[in-house]
């Protein structure tokens, strides 16, 4: 038994060191803990505060469990033994009050942060907010830039330090979840519905975006690249896309593009049809109802 417990303890130590090393030295790889955007940064802070609050109760309970387990076992002849003791009003009051106190603080945290970090709240900034419309299809992401009149597939180019208002929907696909871990949390993109979220990159960089809600065979590779670039580079990029010899994204092109296909390469559209996004969102409504039905 002794050798066994030694083997087990050393195993645990090796494994723990490995896992800790992975987290601490993981750096950029641990995306959620290495935010590059203001929203992701605040979301991480919420998590840290919550973990700290929970540890206030979890650590004493662990110490208590360890103490009880090592003291009150059969082999310990000196330990007190009170087989009939089963109630203490004072202790019960404490047992309930302690978790209630911590949880109440956490509830306040829930209420406050749920409102402060509500995805539909705009980000305060000196820069003007930019709008990008996101359409999930099987199995690719289409990004429409309504103000720039361009569109891309599986590539999201954004200017740094500029709040971006994402309006999301989907076309003929089950639910999808839009997630750029280093910029901020997810929001669903659903057919026939429009959702929204605000994100902002704090600097220049390349990030990974993914879909986290299963939607069929091509689900795992429904990823996209996010390029956060300087304001100038963004303007240049828009100009380059506009001048490129790429097609227009009108409803016809869109319907062809929205056919199921996997592992799609990045694509550009030098111009877009007006109100394409609204057409996509409202296409499941009965004819004639139009926007009134929304």
């Amino acid at each position: 038994m002794k050798t066994l417990s030694r083997i087990i303890v050393s195993l645990f130590v090796i494994v723990d060191v490995y896992f800790l090393g992975k987290i601490l030295l993981g750096g950029e790889n641990i995306q959620v803990l290495n935010p590059k955007g203001i929203i992701a940064l605040q979301e991480r802070e919420v998590a840290y505060v919550a973990v700290f609050l929970m540890l206030v109760i979890v650590i004493p309970v662990f110490i208590w469990a360890f103490y009880v387990g090592t003291t009150y076992h059969e082999g310990n002849k000196w330990a007190k033994y009170t087989p009939e003791w089963d109630h203490s009003t004072k202790l019960q009051a404490f047992i309930w009050a302690f978790p209630i106190a911590i949880i109440c603080i956490l509830c306040v945290l829930v209420w406050k942060t749920a409102h402060r970090l509500d995805p539909s709240d705009a980000i305060a900034s000196t820069q003007k907010t930019m709008t990008i419309q996101v359409v999930a299809t099987r199995w690719k992401w289409i990004f429409i830039y309504p103000d720039q009149h361009i569109a891309t597939v599986n590539l999201l180019e954004i200017p740094e330090n500029t709040p971006v208002h994402f309006m999301l929907s989907a076309s003929d696909t089950p639910m999808n979840s839009f997630w750029i871990p280093q910029l901020g949390g997810q929001i669903y993109a659903m057919s026939g519905m429009a959702t929204q979220t605000y994100l902002m990159a704090n600097g220049v960089g390349t990030y990974r975006g993914a879909n986290s809600e299963i939607n069929g065979a091509g689900y795992a590779q429904m990823t996209f690249t996010v390029n956060s670039v300087t304001q100038n580079d963004f303007t240049n990029w828009v100009a380059r896309v506009k001048q490129s010899a790429t097609p227009t994204l009108d409803l016809n092109t869109f319907n062809k593009l929205a056919q199921p296909s996997q592992n799609n390469p990045v694509a550009y559209y030098s111009s877009t049809q007006d109100n394409l996004f609204t057409t996509i969102v409202t296409k499941y409504l009965a004819p004639g109802k139009g926007m009134e039905g929304m």
Binding site: I8, V15, F19, K22, N29, I30, Q31, V32, A40, V46, V51, V58, V61, W64, V68, G69, Y72, H73, A79, Y81, T82, P83, W85, D86, L91, I95, W96, I103, L106, C107, L109, V110, W111, T113, A114, H115, R116, L117, P119, S120, D121, D172, P174, M175, W179, G185, Q186, M190, S191, T195, T197, A210, N211, S212, I214, G216, A217, Y219, A220, Y284
Partner: protein
């Protein structure tokens, strides 16, 4: 005409891919082997009369556990297949066996994790729990049987029919659902899943869910109406309390599941539009409905297990349970609160800050009663004399894993944090920590604890401890990487990813963890085999191997089929403990009581009946025929089932009387043995 008889079933739908064929061969081998074995030892009649048609909850409980264990092995095999794919299936991998990446196609991979989830929740954890509750609750409340013995048999056979249905595609072909364990709409609609997979899912769960609902009603009535004289509600053992709460949950939520699946069925079979994308369907309604059932459902898995821990802690600490009232209130609070948190499964749907905050706060509240329970258990051990047998090991394993899992859960109750880990492997790690480290560990603890009661001999202690340690190491190796991967941005249910992300190493660790857990399960099987071989050494003749406290230990092990020759009179909470250590009564009085108390009476017991098998057989035929749109067989199944119900209703001789003299004879024999 052919369409009417066989529906969608054609030659080409029979199993023909390597994995379905593998399943076919495996199932056929097991069936043929079993048939040959039973014929050889001439046990067919015995099996039918003593087991399959039995209405004895002890026997039904054992059958539940056997099936649950077999399904556990199948679900475990799924795990290895899933992680093997995730380990080798990077986008740069060449692809084997016809797959693009790794060795499984995306569709096949999705079928496997769907099956894994459904099997582990419905047929493993629920099966184990229904088994344990069947075995122990009647004994704990001093009852001879359940309120509705026939319904209990029927419930088990419907569960079994569900088990067969979910594995049926190995035999009849087609495929399984590729839409996740909840078959979320609109992915489960015809537009995206036109095959028979989702239909297998619907009918398997519909049939077994009916069985679960029947079982739930049965246990609630049994616990409320059939307790021994003197056992008031506040004198019930904690496991009985927890089972009562779990079963109340079952009664409240399973109709929601049934109704949700009926709506999905209408969509798929009659072209209606409850959850479709077009024509006014609303998939968000499916999500609300399925999680209104789904979240309480995971509490159905864990609440009875809390009861198991309460029993074990009190028995092995050799001390009264501390804060009994608190524990009852806590279990009740968890039961109630579990109804009000379902939306935390989709904070990311964009419901708005007020709604999200409300459900986040309700979720937070559940942590209070859960924490109170753990602290009360630790106070039960405080100033006790803990005997470190393997059930206590499982308890400490539970405390260490469940606390971390709970922390992860509370983190996700904060909507802003949930936005960042929702649907990632972090979430997967969280609920596996709760269900494996919480429910499954508790089931193993309860299994070890009550095994001698059911079979009359203890399990091998040392191998049990080896199994525990192997499990614990395997558990951490398997699930800690998932927490890290989730924070790295790895989403759940993906069959492939770019190797440049650096995820492969951690997936490999998870796969190794799965192999370690397989070794642990191997050790558990070894423990069972060794214990059976050495059963003479570990024989327990007292009926009370652990110095127990509640009534199940008051009768012989294994208990006679009528449980108690004389129904015990209950005076206090730890009824059996009080009997062994009487207080306030002189010893002469005890002796007098003993003399007078042995006055046998006639016992009324339920007859065995095969009607449960026939009825669920017809319902199974109906379900299977519905999957394939084979209307003729569906009609036969439905009419057959209705006929069975009518026949059973007119059967007035469902009970027999065991005379006092017969009871005395059996009791004498039992006494002579000990």
């Amino acid at each position: 005409m052919e369409q009417f008889i066989l529906g969608r079933l054609t030659w080409s739908s029979l199993p023909h891919e390597w994995f379905t064929l593998g399943g076919t061969v495996a199932f056929a081998t097991i069936l043929i082997g079993l048939t040959i074995f039973l014929t050889r030892v001439k046990r067919w009649k015995w099996l039918w009369n003593e087991w399959l048609t039995s209405t004895d909850p002890k026997k039904i409980g054992i059958m539940y556990i056997i099936i649950a264990f077999l399904m556990f092995l199948r679900g475990g095999l799924d795990v290895v297949m899933i992680w093997l794919q995730q380990t080798i299936g990077t986008t740069s991998s060449p692809g084997y066996l016809g797959a693009t990446h790794g060795y499984l196609s995306a569709d096949h991979f999705q079928q496997i994790f769907t099956a894994h989830g459904d099997i582990m929740v419905f047929f493993v954890t629920m099966g184990f729990l229904f088994g344990l509750i069947n075995l122990i609750v009647p004994l704990q409340i001093g009852a001879r049987d359940l309120a509705f013995p026939f319904l209990n048999s029927l419930g088990f056979w419907l569960y079994f029919a569900g088990v067969v249905l979910i594995n049926m595609f190995f035999v009849l072909g087609g495929e399984f659902a590729a839409a996740g364990w909840l078959a979320v709409a609109p992915l489960s609609e015809l537009q995206f899943n036109p095959g028979v997979g989702v239909d297998y899912w619907i009918w398997s769960l519909q049939v077994s869910g009916l069985g679960t609902l029947i079982g739930g009603i049965n246990f609630v009535v049994t616990i409320l109406k059939m307790r021994a004289p003197g056992m008031s509600l506040m004198r019930m053992p904690m496991f009985t309390w927890a089972s009562l709460m779990g079963m109340i949950l079952v009664i409240s939520i399973f109709p929601i599941l049934a109704m949700t699946m009926i709506l999905l069925t209408l969509d798929r079979y009659l072209g209606m539009h409850f959850f479709t994308l077009d024509n006014g369907g609303n998939a968000m309604m499916y999500w609300n409905l399925i999680w209104m059932w789904g979240h309480p459902e995971v509490y159905v898995l864990i609440i009875p297990v809390f009861g198991i821990y309460s029993e074990i802690v009190s028995t092995f600490a050799q001390k009264k349970i501390f804060g009994y009232t608190s524990l009852v209130v806590a279990v009740g609070a968890i039961t109630l609160l579990s109804f009000s948190v379902w939306l935390h499964h989709f904070f990311t749907m964009g419901a708005g800050a007020d709604v999200n905050a409300f459900f986040g706060i309700m979720t937070m509240w559940i942590a209070i009663p859960t924490g109170v329970q753990i602290i009360n258990w630790l106070f039960t051990m405080f100033r006790g004399k803990i005997i470190f047998k393997s059930p206590i090991y499982w308890f400490f394993g539970f405390v260490s894993t469940f606390t971390f899992g709970g922390m992860a859960g509370l983190l996700m109750a904060l909507p802003p944090v949930d936005f960042q880990v929702h649907n990632s492997l972090f979430l997967v790690a969280h609920f596996h920590t709760m269900i494996v480290g919480g429910a499954l560990f508790g089931i193993f603890a309860g299994f070890t604890y009550w095994f001698p009661k059911v079979f009359g001999f203890k399990l091998h202690e040392r191998i049990g401890k080896y199994a525990f340690w192997t499990w614990l190491v395997g558990f951490f190796l398997s699930f800690v990487p998932l927490y890290i991967l989730g924070m790295m941005g790895a989403v759940r249910r993906m069959d492939t990813y770019s190797p440049s992300l650096g995820w492969q190493q951690l997936f490999t660790v998870s796969l190794i963890g799965a192999c370690v857990i397989m070794c642990a399960v191997g050790l558990q099987i070894l423990q069972l085999v060794v214990s059976i071989i050495q059963r003479k050494q570990n024989r327990d003749l007292t009926g009370d191997p652990w110095n127990g406290r509640s009534l199940e230990w008051a009768t012989a092990s294994p208990p006679p089929f009528y449980n108690f020759a004389v129904i015990p009179q209950v005076h206090s909470r730890d009824a059996f403990w009080e009997m062994k250590n009487p207080k306030g009564i002189s010893s002469s009085e005890v002796a007098k009581q003993k003399k007078t108390s042995i006055k046998y009476e006639d016992i009324e017991l339920p007859k065995n009946t095969p009607m449960g098998i026939y009825l669920s057989g017809f319902i199974f035929l109906f379900g299977l025929a519905m999957v394939w749109h084979a209307w003729l067989f569906a009609i036969i199944g439905l009419v057959g089932a209705i006929c069975c119900v009518i026949l059973r209703t007119f059967d007035e001789h469902t009970e027999y009387v065991l005379t006092a003299a017969e009871v005395e004879q059996i009791e004498k024999k039992l006494r002579a043995k000990s």
